[in-house]
């Protein structure tokens, strides 16, 4: 049957592009990570040094700090984003005309450029003329004198808020559309049986939405881990190294310190963490058969 070949022919272009654009450089940078190569010293790759760069990473407190910061940042982002998005989704998933308008507009933050948002946040968090600092101070007086980018905890909150602001609308709209496409009779039955809204949510809504929630978690994790522009534009990893996520510190090592070998090793370790995470998620997805 011709389908036998067609299915591979259809797949082939995509696989070639993915292999060429992801796996070729991925393997190439593994090779670099086994060498001592500082761009400031030479234009060509230096001597082969085996796993020394990896050994160095394990003794590098900066690396461990970045791992910690990355996990905190990603964890906070995913948990907050999903919780808040779920609350917003429940609120917006009713069939009311004004809500439908809001749902339509809510996608806008997703289309904004992360670099622009990072810069704007820095502008708006300025304690002397920033809109956010003034508004927050007016609404919650204890927050009036907070230096948002001056304390490790607050700076992390500020950075997380950029990602949340950009992605919550998208995630909650995903959940809204999932919630609205669930069959109404299940909820009707639950109501007749006298289930409280909370019980309905826990025992019906959540399990039915599980595949969508998983997809949302994967997307949110990926985009939290890829966050780069907001760190460059908002905190530059500070104060101290409290917001220096791995993606940023790899970039620094590679393109500010030009230590290519070491940067590739750090990047590889980051990739390993991420691929483990990915495998974990995929197993969850496959188990739930959400993605056939």
């Amino acid at each position: 049957m011709r389908d036998k070949y067609l299915k591979y022919i259809l797949l082939l272009p995509a696989l070639i592009v993915i292999a060429a654009t992801s796996f070729y450089p991925f393997i190439q940078s593994f090779w670099i990570s086994l060498h001592n190569w500082n761009l400031m010293n030479s234009l060509t790759m230096g001597p082969f040094i085996g796993l020394s760069n990896y050994v160095q990473a394990f003794h590098d407190s900066g690396f461990w700090n970045s791992v910690k910061v990355t996990l905190i940042f990603t964890g906070l982002t995913v948990v907050l984003s999903l919780t808040i998005s779920m609350a917003i989704a429940l609120l917006l998933s009713k069939n009311k005309p004004y809500l439908s308008v809001i749902r339509g507009l809510l996608i806008i933050p997703f289309a904004m450029s992360p670099a622009l948002i990072g810069f704007s946040w820095r502008f708006m968090l300025n304690p002397e003329y920033g809109l956010f600092s003034k508004l927050l101070g007016a609404v919650f007086p204890p927050l009036a004198n907070v230096q948002w980018l001056g304390q490790p905890t607050y700076a992390m909150v500020a950075l997380v808020s950029v990602i949340l602001w950009m992605w919550i609308p998208f995630i909650s709209l995903t959940l809204v559309s999932g919630r609205m496409s669930l069959p109404g009779d299940v909820f009707e039955a639950a109501r007749v049986d006298g289930a409280s809204p909370f019980q309905t949510f826990i025992h019906i809504t959540l399990p039915l939405l599980r595949p969508i929630i998983l997809i949302a978690v994967i997307l949110q994790t990926m985009f939290a881990l890829k966050a780069f522009d907001p760190v460059v534009t908002l905190t530059q990893g500070g104060p101290g190294v409290s917001t220096s996520i791995l993606n940023y510190s790899v970039y620094q090592t590679a393109f500010q310190f030009f230590n290519m070998g070491y940067a590739s090793a750090l990047g590889y370790l980051l990739a390993v963490i991420l691929v483990i995470l990915a495998a974990f998620y995929m197993r969850l997805l496959v188990k739930g058969e959400g993605w056939r």
Binding site: Q28, S29, L91, Y129, L131, I215, L225, R292
Partner: protein, 280 residues
Amino acid sequence: MSTPAGTNRAFKTVYSCLEYLAVAIIVLIFFVPIAWIVLTAFKPSQDVYTLKLFFTPTLANFRAIFSYPLDFGPYLLNSFIVTTATLVIGIPISLFAAYSLSRFKIAGKQGLLFWILSTQFIPPVIIALPFFILFRNLGLLDTRISLIIVNLCIIIPFAIWLIKGFLDGIPTDIEEAALIDGCSRFGVLTRIIVALAKPGILTATVFCFVLSWNEFMFPLILSRQNATTLPVALMLLNAEKGVIWEQMAAAGIVLVIPSVILVLLVRKHFVQGLTLGALD
């Protein structure tokens, strides 16, 4: 339960008031920053560092970014060319792959799907250097082609994923009927599937447009001047004197308008496209 009707009604009123309040807060949180960026873009420079809501609006900031020495016109053009070419190449390729993955039995399909998605977990920064060296050797540095190639690596996995999810949700009977009528598989794909999966394909296209349009790190590293795209040009406003906010805001508006328009155009299908495949 014998709650007096009055209390119940009062409760309902309070509840719906709270609901309005919550919705209002959400709208404020997500739209006040945008409104502020828009206001800043129209402010004359002496009002930028005030919280004034009323001022004499000016187009000077927009004029500034499109005239010498900033000259954002060519960067905008680069962004358009790179993103359009990326989508024109990437979306059909992804559609084919998604169709194949959705409709056929393929050995090791789960592994393949995992492999495709896992590329998105590779930190882009470690891909950047080999690309830089490769493009240097090919003489492709600072060309739009190089940016199109790397953007394909960003969008194709997502596009496959989104389109496949959508195709999974489309029943196969129409296709089978067409096949029996003598239509070829490829004909089914290009005529019937494209028509049926239009919302999904549009969704994926817009999603990928946003990713490609806003891509920052690769053009930062791979372009010099001729191929520089708008998000990187934004950095030009982070000058020795710090960030020129009002011009940054104006450039930001120019930058986001195309993606906002597209996203709004397909908003009905946009999110549905993501969830359909997963739910049924």
